[in-house]
């Protein structure tokens, strides 16, 4: 059982390394960064306590929101999805990404206290 899981994973990693364009890999790295930041915030909350709760929420939501927006950008930029996003050019996707981030950060900074 574990053998098949290991082989699936190694194959997946190999595929990923070879066939994913660089741009997408960069976005994936960014996604990993966001994920880790969120995890570490949550870890703090679990270990030390929820004071101050609003700051924790704001930071955590920021991570979650950024992750989602980055995933959206990745989907829209991916050339394999071009048929689904005919009206949306990669530049447009990036512009949307920036605008959404502005709004998100406005809310996050308001709430962080």
């Amino acid at each position: 059982m574990s053998n098949s899981v290991f082989s699936v994973i190694s194959r997946f990693v190999e595929e990923y390394r070879s066939s994913t364009p660089n741009k997408l890999k960069m976005i994936d790295a960014y996604l990993l960064y966001i994920l880790l930041t969120g995890v570490f915030q949550f870890l703090y909350c679990v270990l030390v306590g929820t004071f101050p709760f609003n700051s924790f929420l704001s930071g955590f939501i920021s991570c979650v929101g950024s992750f989602i927006l980055a995933v959206c950008l990745r989907i829209q930029i991916n050339p394999q999805n071009k048929r689904d996003f005919l009206t949306v050019s990669p530049e447009r996707a990036f512009a949307d990404f920036l605008f959404a981030h502005t709004v998100l950060h406005l809310v996050v900074v308001n709430f962080v206290g």
Binding site: N22, K25, M26, A29, Y30, L32, Y33, I34, L36, T37, F40, Q41, L43, Y44, V48, G49, F51, G59, S89, P90, E91, R92, F94, A95, L98, T102, H105, L106, V109, N110, V112
Partner: protein, 642 residues
């Protein structure tokens, strides 16, 4: 006799209940006397003479000086005025031996007034004058004139006058339609709370309606269409006012009272107890006054107690017992039935005349008694029961000779019985208190003595248990027994004995401190919410570093992936875009530290629109470049394939 009715109004409201409607308001003798005084005022003109003379005759009182009055009427008579003739004729009718001279002109004038064109009041006055002066009149003409008048003016007073007029006409005339007006008019009465029934035009109109309706009903010998409850409500309305503003109002009340006392169909009965409805051995008779609305006793009535039940046990004591009439008052020896003390509900019926209205009355009667205290035993019992109790018997109203000592090892006990003096039946009055009064300090403590199942009263005082009531102040206390109840004639306050109480942990004997109720209380300090416990700075710093660490990871990964800024064109839009974007990030930081949302939005709008324009330009240029690159690569691929 004068004071007989005096209490009745007060007692009536306490005593009578409205199961079947009974009058809540009626005239007392003082009220009737007041009415009489008002009507006996010296009269100034013919109108007031009419009201006075006729009003007094309705009350059954004759004028003081009949001859003088007659002369006055004759001298003030104006034969050319119908109204004047009316007043004179009616007044002279009420005076014995007073005749008004009548001429042919007078008669013609009166007859001419009977027509459709005169007002109802004119028709009424002329018909009454003709009838009182003994002159002939054409009843049918009057009836048609009245009917025409009623159809033209449909107000209450017109119809009342029509009713009054019709009662003076010959019985052969067709009075049927006018008789029906009574019912229509009765429907116009306003019911106020189920107690009063009156016209919105006021008391005078209601009273005149009553006298007119009964006058006409008596005249044609047909019962008026008024129900018993309506009659009682009318009685309440008319007789609720005890002082009258004008002579005409007093006159209307007097005529209403007379018609309600003497008509052939409905005679309201007023029942009231003479004095308080309380019976005892010294006062064994229950006395009731049964009168009509003019406060005249109804001697022809026979008063019967249908049932008398005790309110507590609901057992019937009496059934169908008659009252005997003595000196105009109906009395019953209730004590002969030997009732126990308490309250009794009497249901009384007045019979003797089919005209009686409201002849079923409910009364609440109190039977009181005298109490005596038996077997008052005082003793001091040792708590551990090693020494037998020493009981001292005390007889009322003497005081025990020796005082009793009780300290923390002993209990002071008191037992007694309360019995009815005459019957010896055990009683449980509402108030049986034991009061201990310290003469020196003025302190007073009151306890309740409870009866046990055998109705033996017990009181026990344990000095250790009751320490707090006494404030642990030892000393000599005078012991009083207080017995009281609504049905007891002799409430008791008896200084039974002196008790010396010794308390443990006695404080220095001091006078009772004034209660510290009104002195300033200690100030309350507000306790602000404690701030929450923060974790140590080391921990938070460590975690801050941990949270920021993935950024380093990101930079490393990007470097490894080969991220570069080689495509960075130094076109103005690119530069401006990046500056604008950096400014927005800086604004976020400033927002976090200094600004509020409104200011931030203002700045954001400015920087944002600038950044947007620059960014748009930059991205458009990039897009153009990308499309050009794609096209050229596609072209190259196409060429290579060929």
């Amino acid at each position: 006799m004068a004071h007989l009715c005096l209490f009745s109004l007060l007692v009536l409201s306490l005593v009578l209940e409205t199961q079947a409607l009974t009058p809540t308001h009626h005239l007392t003798t003082t009220d009737v006397a007041r009415l009489q005084t008002l009507l006996s005022q010296p009269f100034t003109d013919l109108k007031s003479a009419y009201y006075s003379v006729v009003g007094l005759s309705k009350l059954g009182i004759s004028v003081a000086d009949a001859a003088e009055t007659c002369r006055f009427i004759k001298s003030n008579l104006d034969p050319s005025s119908v109204e004047s003739l009316f007043f004179a004729a009616e007044a002279s009718q009420a005076l014995p031996g007073c005749e008004i001279p009548v001429s042919n002109d007078t008669r013609d004038l009166l007859l001419a007034t009977v027509s459709e064109d005169s007002t109802a009041s004119q028709i009424h006055q002329s018909v009454s004058a003709l009838s009182s002066l003994g002159l002939p009149l054409a009843s049918q003409e009057v009836v048609s004139a009245l009917k025409a008048r009623i159809s033209k003016e449909d107000n209450v007073l017109t119809i009342i006058l029509a009713l009054q007029t019709a009662s003076r006409l010959s019985q052969q005339a067709e009075l049927g339609e006018i008789l029906e007006e009574i019912e229509d008019l009765a429907a116009r009465l306003d019911d106020l709370g189920g107690v009063y029934l009156q016209f919105e035009e006021g008391l005078e109109a209601t009273a005149l309606f009553v006298s007119a309706a009964y006058a006409l009903s008596d005249h044609v010998d047909m019962e008026p269409p008024l129900k018993e409850d309506q009659v009682i409500q009318l009685v309440n309305s008319i007789f609720s006012k005890k002082s009258w503003d004008s002579l005409s109002e007093a006159f209307s009340v007097a005529s209403a009272a007379e018609s309600l006392s003497n008509n052939r169909f409905h005679v309201p009965v007023i029942v009231s107890a003479q004095g308080p409805a309380a019976i005892s051995h010294s006062q064994p008779f229950l006395r009731l006054q049964v009168t009509n609305v003019l406060c005249k006793p109804l001697s022809s009535a026979s008063v019967l107690v249908e049932s008398a039940t005790a309110t507590s046990s609901k057992s019937a004591i009496l059934s169908q017992a008659p009252f005997t009439l003595r000196d105009g008052v109906f009395e019953l020896n209730f004590m002969a039935s030997q009732p126990a003390s308490g309250y009794y509900q009497f249901s009384v019926a007045i019979a003797g005349d089919s005209r009686f209205v409201a002849n079923h009355v409910e009364l609440k009667v109190k039977v009181s008694t005298r109490v005596s205290i038996n077997n008052m035993d005082l003793s001091v019992v040792d708590k551990d029961q090693s020494i037998g109790p020493k009981t001292t018997r005390v007889e009322y109203p003497a005081k025990a000779k020796a005082s009793f000592m009780a300290d923390s090892h002993q209990i002071f006990a008191m037992t007694f019985q309360l019995v009815d003096e005459t019957t010896g039946v055990e009683l449980t009055p509402h108030q049986t208190f034991v009061r201990l009064h310290n003469q020196k300090t003025g302190q007073e403590v009151v306890f309740v003595a409870e009866p046990d199942s055998k109705n033996l009263y017990k009181f026990e005082l344990d000095t250790t248990e009751r320490k707090t009531e006494f404030d642990s102040i030892s000393g000599t206390y005078a012991l009083y027994l207080m017995v009281g109840d609504a049905t007891l004639e002799n409430p008791i306050l008896w200084n039974v004995a002196d008790v010396v109480l010794k308390f443990l942990d006695e404080e220095a004997p001091s006078t009772i401190q004034a209660k510290t109720l009104y002195t300033p209380k200690p100030e309350i300090q507000h306790l602000f919410r404690e701030p929450e416990k923060k974790p140590p700075t080391v921990v938070s710093n460590a975690f801050t570093a941990l949270v920021l660490s993935p950024f380093l990871l990101l930079l490393i990964l990007w470097f490894k992936l080969g991220a570069n800024i080689s495509n960075f064109t130094l076109s103005p839009s690119t530069v401006l875009f990046h500056i604008g974007h950096a400014a927005m990030l800086g604004l976020m930081y400033v927002y976090w530290t200094h600004l509020n949302m409104f200011q931030t939005l203002k700045y954001l709008a400015i920087i944002g629109s600038f950044t947007f324009l620059a960014g748009n330009r930059m991205l458009a240029q990039k897009a153009v470049k990308r499309i050009a690159a794609e096209q050229s690569s596609r072209l190259a691929k196409y060429r290579s394939l060929r």
